[in-house]
């Protein structure tokens, strides 16, 4: 008898605790916005994933705590999200292991188990593809800060957005730059493209070729090569022989380093040398061949800017956490995260439909961003029509922003100096 009563009491207590608990979590949920982030935290892109994770964690700090020193940057001034009664942001990270299957499984888990209000990810385009398909089925907003593959936004998805510049934006900035050079009297009669021969190199090369044709610039030479190569002498000799006015490299890290070394060994310098992001942006590139690639031009949407600026302060926060400077792709992750949280704040709710409406109405101005985009505004496919990049140049031991003029921190040095 006593036992039964005890049991009943226990059950009632447990029930009450449960009700209380549910009530509490209900109330608590109002004060936390949960965002899932699916990144390659293991596998061969793990270092990029780790950088993105650190960048997002810095952004969480910026949003959740008051940072009046960061000026107009979205959500920096006050602690938490003002339109949600100062709600804090919580990020649940998941590892996509570099496979499309794990990316999708983890996105499903974040949505159904962790009950995240929005998902961010997933670096590799193929993984973004499968991960966003699950978000689409569940009707949860998905934002990709860095995947550039064209087909991602051709699927007619309702819940998919991306903030990054895509191949056509990248080609555009090179063309505008080269046209300006030409107008200023620099000889740009023949351009050479040297690209690694998998997806990245091939697709960027293709878009650059098309953009050059449209802009009346002449691509005189195209050299595709394998990024795993250990010898590029014949390619460099070919370049030396044709002597183009400008070379655009689309390379990964080890091959970019090899090209710079071989060019020095063979004593060849083109008047303009452009390296498209990836290999040329890698910290390892600067460290090993920066001194013999003086004047190399690269594209990036990130620049730490002048000391004391908002971007410089963000960079310091990031550096304190990781020990190295913020790079372009981690910066894009951070910007994507700010954009998503800004939309949730404007929605004033974690209801997916309200977030969707707010995302569609996104109109961020350059002063609210930490990346060098002209703003963030989505077209009906979910692409950021104001995404852009700026050109940076190796001067001394670092990259400095040189073009366009209004975002430059140092004057452009021409021609390519080399060593």
């Amino acid at each position: 008898m006593f036992k039964t009563i005890g049991l009943m009491k226990g059950t009632a207590l447990a029930g009450a605790a449960l009700v209380l608990g549910l009530g509490l979590t209900g109330a608590f949920a109002q004060n936390t916005v949960k965002i899932g982030a699916v990144y390659p935290l293991s596998g061969n892109a793990a270092s990029a994933g780790a950088s993105a994770k650190a960048a997002i964690e810095v952004a969480v700090d910026v949003i959740n705590n008051a940072h009046p020193e960061l000026g107009d940057l979205t959500l920096a001034k006050d602690a938490g999200l003002p339109n949600l009664n100062g709600a804090k942001v919580e990020v649940v990270f998941a590892d996509n292991q570099g496979t499309p299957a794990a990316g999708q499984n983890q996105t499903l888990r974040l949505i159904t188990e962790e009950k995240v209000h929005a998902v961010l990810g997933s670096y590799q385009s193929g993984i973004t593809l499968t991960a966003s398909a699950i978000a689409e089925k569940y009707g949860i907003p998905f934002l990709s800060p860095e995947s550039v593959a064209a087909n991602l936004t051709e699927r007619g998805f309702k819940w998919f957005f991306r903030t990054t510049p895509i191949a056509s934006d990248i080609a555009k900035i090179y063309m505008e730059f080269l046209k300006e050079m030409k107008a200023n009297g620099t000889k740009v009669d023949q351009i050479a493209i040297v690209n690694e021969n998998t997806e990245y190199g091939t697709s960027i090369a293709k878009v650059i070729r098309e953009a050059a044709q449209a802009n009346g610039l002449n691509i005189g030479l195209e050299i595709p090569y394998s990024a795993n190569t250990t010898d590029v002498q014949s390619q460099v000799l070919q370049l030396k022989d044709k002597n183009p006015d400008c070379i655009i490299f689309v390379s990964y890290t080890s091959d970019a380093i090899l090209y710079m070394k071989t060019m020095q060994a063979l004593g060849y310098k083109p008047p303009i040398l452009i390296g498209d992001n990836s290999g040329f942006s890698d910290a390892a590139f600067l460290k090993s061949v920066g001194s013999i690639a003086q004047g190399a031009i690269n594209r990036s949407a990130w620049s730490a800017g002048k000391p004391g600026s908002v971007t410089d302060r963000l960079n310091e926060m990031y550096k304190k956490k990781t020990g190295y400077d913020l790079d372009d792709s981690a910066g894009r992750a951070m910007q994507g995260f700010f954009t998503m949280v800004d939309a949730i704040n404007r929605a004033g709710s974690t209801d997916p439909n309200k977030i969707l409406t707010a995302l569609k109405a996104t109109d961020l101005k350059p002063n609210q961003l930490m990346m060098g985009y002209r703003g963030v505004k989505f077209d009906e496919k979910g692409n950021n029509i104001l995404a852009s990049a700026l050109l940076i140049q190796i001067q001394g031991s670092d990259y400095v922003a040189v073009w366009p003029k209004d975002s430059a921190t140092a004057p452009l040095q021409m021609p390519y100096k080399g060593w």
Partner: protein, 327 residues
Amino acid sequence: MKRSVWLLLILALVIVYPLLFTTPFLQRLGALVLLYAIAASAWNIVGGYAGQVSVGHVVFFGCGAYASMAFFTHFGWPPIAAVPVGMAASVGIAALIGVPTLRLSGHYFSMATIAVAELARLIVTNVEALGAAVGLSGPVMPRTVFDLSFTSALPYYYLFLAVLLVVLGLTYWMENSRIGFYLRAIKDNERAARSLGVQAGRYKLYAYMISAGLTSVAGTLYATMYGFIDPESGLGILTSVKILIMAALGGAGLLFGPLVGAAILVPLEEISNNLLGGKGAGLTFVVYGAIIMIIARFYPSGLLKLLLDRMAAAKPAPSDKQVRDVA
């Protein structure tokens, strides 16, 4: 009698599993176990029964996956409709590479299959029609129910279960037919089998072709569920190894060995990734690898074999009295 009762009980448990564990993640986990069990059971036919350790089975997996995505992309077929295409291609490829490579023995056969798989991956990476390095995707939004694009994992679960039962049924039939006996003879001692008149080359090839065709079905199902395939996930060596490890862990050459292996490894991988992956310390694979090492060191013939041996040991041998009574 006793055995069939146990089997029915396990089957009943497998059938009700997704009704007991209703969260989408656990249902999907169940579906994934069955999917990998299909692939590992298919591998088991040639790797377990015939003892020809293929480390390039991903070629057939990729064949099925690519067939479904390619026929969808170019002709608008529902992905699942490409099952016969993938199977035919796989069986063809198996015949083509089996004839020369099955003459090789032991490690040399394994090495040759790895080479073929890597070759296939490199070729596909450069074929535009197969999506090259970017990969191919399936229907974005289901057009009809035949696209098998569901939000819930339940339909996948039961579809995979049905296919698995067919594969296991086929394996069971084979195990008890002439080909099964031949294969075991070949596995134990190929020279002895030959001397007794077993046409070893021919039967190894049969096993290889059956195994290839069934592996391709797993590939198609995989692509149907995830809606995307690229060279790394469809033809990467890791998938081959995963299939092989599941069969070996559970017990290669045993009917339910691969199922046991999949039921342990798939949840282990997913759950360790859930718990540890987000930390970004790469711990998932450390734990995963450590468990595989422990099993390989202490139970090399597989967990199911260990269990069966234990059960056999626990059962008392017929005593003299019983024997006399029968007599």
